[in-house]
């Protein structure tokens, strides 16, 4: 037992207090951060269930099932915000990014609890790679929402297609890091390399949208 639910509670309590005490955009950002951690927890349950039901080992599940489950789950908080609260497009795009950050943070905490915290260089690399991966995935979906906001059918279609795109990217990352040797190193550096053009493109799109 790694008591991940207990760790989750310890992490979210300060966030909840901060949400209660803050207002406006800060509150929205922290809500999405909290939502990211929550969907990460639920994703782990769904991944475990699907791996058990399909009778495949954890390694294959991480490559073939987890990416799609995680990317779909990361979209849910923003979908909820769009449908229920009619979020502004800037808040929706920012919401996906904050959800991704919360997801990556909690995923790293899960990794720490399962594998220990002694190997700092490995943790730094793994933390940076996982964080960059989720942020790049969040950026892509968020940018698609921003760029193709005008028509509902276009926005919906592009979001679905972009979730598929980032799921593949995530699967490739998980496949590479599950191997040994130099292949794993390529896997770790892949998100770090793609983060730079992702930031560049997002700044361009934000300028174009006058946001």
């Amino acid at each position: 037992m790694n008591y991940i639910e207990n760790i989750y509670v310890c992490l979210i309590v300060p966030l909840l207090l901060a949400i209660l005490c803050s207002t406006g955009k800060r509150r929205i950002s922290m809500l999405f951060l909290l939502a990211g951690m929550t969907v990460c927890l639920f994703s782990s349950y769904i991944n475990s269930f699907l791996a058990q039901s399909q009778q495949i080992d954890a390694r294959l599940a991480a490559i073939e099932i987890s990416p799609l489950v995680e990317e779909c789950m990361k979209l849910l908080p923003v979908l909820f915000g769009l449908l229920v609260f009619d979020l502004h497009k800037r808040d929706a795009a920012g919401g996906i990014l904050m959800t991704s950050v919360g997801f990556a943070t909690f995923e790293n905490v899960c990794f720490l609890s399962a594998n220990g915290a002694s190997d700092l260089p490995q943790l730094l690399l793994r933390g940076a790679a996982t964080g960059a991966l989720h942020i790049v995935c969040g950026y892509l979906v968020g940018l698609g929402l921003l760029f193709l906001w005008d028509m509902l059918w276009l926005r919906t279609l592009s979001t679905v297609a972009l979730v598929c795109l980032v799921s593949i990217y995530h699967s490739i990352y998980n496949l590479l890091v599950s191997q040994g040797g130099w292949v794993r190193w390529i896997g770790y550096f892949l998100p770090l390399v793609t983060l730079i053009p992702a930031i560049h493109i997002s700044r361009y799109v934000l300028r174009q949208q006058h946001l």
Binding site: I56, E64, L157, C164, L165, S167, I172, L175
Partner: protein, 203 residues
């Protein structure tokens, strides 16, 4: 498996080059939104191909579930539909019944393939390909620069179905297997897509 790896590697290389060239067009273009669907199409297809290739090379077998790669292919088809959408004839009445032929064919193919694959992936394939076929045939009815792109999309549509049908009667891992001929034709059609799309969107 060697032929499959060579075939997929060639396809991935072509997709990578097409993606880079399309991205360069997007970067240099005044109206960048026009090039977004094609860049994303090549990215989706290319990443799906890359995943399949890496899985074959590293795990020494095909994926247990094909969802991971299939979703990339379906998403790519959706982006092709987004590229066809601005080229559609304006009035519904001028599209006629011809586009529905593609929907009919995809429905029939769905019923044929249901014997081999699972329900959900076959349904997704039928919906996405049927939609792309419908839009391609609708665009063909409108005179203009978009017709070449519509023909290219139809070529993708036909070669994909030819590949899938030939995969149901697998002829072994050799060049005598028609599956690989159609896959090489699909690779060539990706180049046609770029050339025809450039003609459709650029003055």
């Amino acid at each position: 498996m060697i032929i499959e790896i060579v075939d997929n590697s060639l396809q991935f290389l072509v997709l990578l080059v097409c993606a880079l060239v399309s991205f360069r067009r997007l970067y240099c273009s005044q109206d960048k939104k026009k090039w977004v669907p094609l860049v994303l199409f090549y990215s989706c297809y290319g990443l799906a191909e890359c995943f399949w290739l890496l899985f074959l090379a590293l795990m020494k077998h095909t994926p247990h579930f094909s969802y991971a790669a299939d979703l990339g292919w379906y998403a790519g088809v959706l982006f092709l539909c987004m590229g066809l959408e601005p080229l559609l004839p304006e009035k519904d009445g001028s599209r006629g019944l011809l586009p529905w032929l593609a929907v009919l064919f995809s429905a029939a193919a769905f019923l044929f393939f249901i014997r081999w694959g699972d329900f959900v992936s076959n349904l997704l394939a039928a919906l996405s390909m049927g939609w792309m076929g419908w839009m391609s045939l609708a665009v063909l009815q409108k005179p203009g620069r978009g017709r070449a792109f519509a023909w290219s999309c139809l070529l993708v549509y036909c070669t994909e179905y030819a590949m899938w049908i030939s995969s149901c009667f697998w002829g072994g891992d050799s060049l005598a297997n028609p599956y690989f001929w159609f896959d090489f034709l699909l690779t060539a059609s990706f180049v046609c897509l770029f050339l025809s799309y450039r003609r459709a969107v650029e003055p």
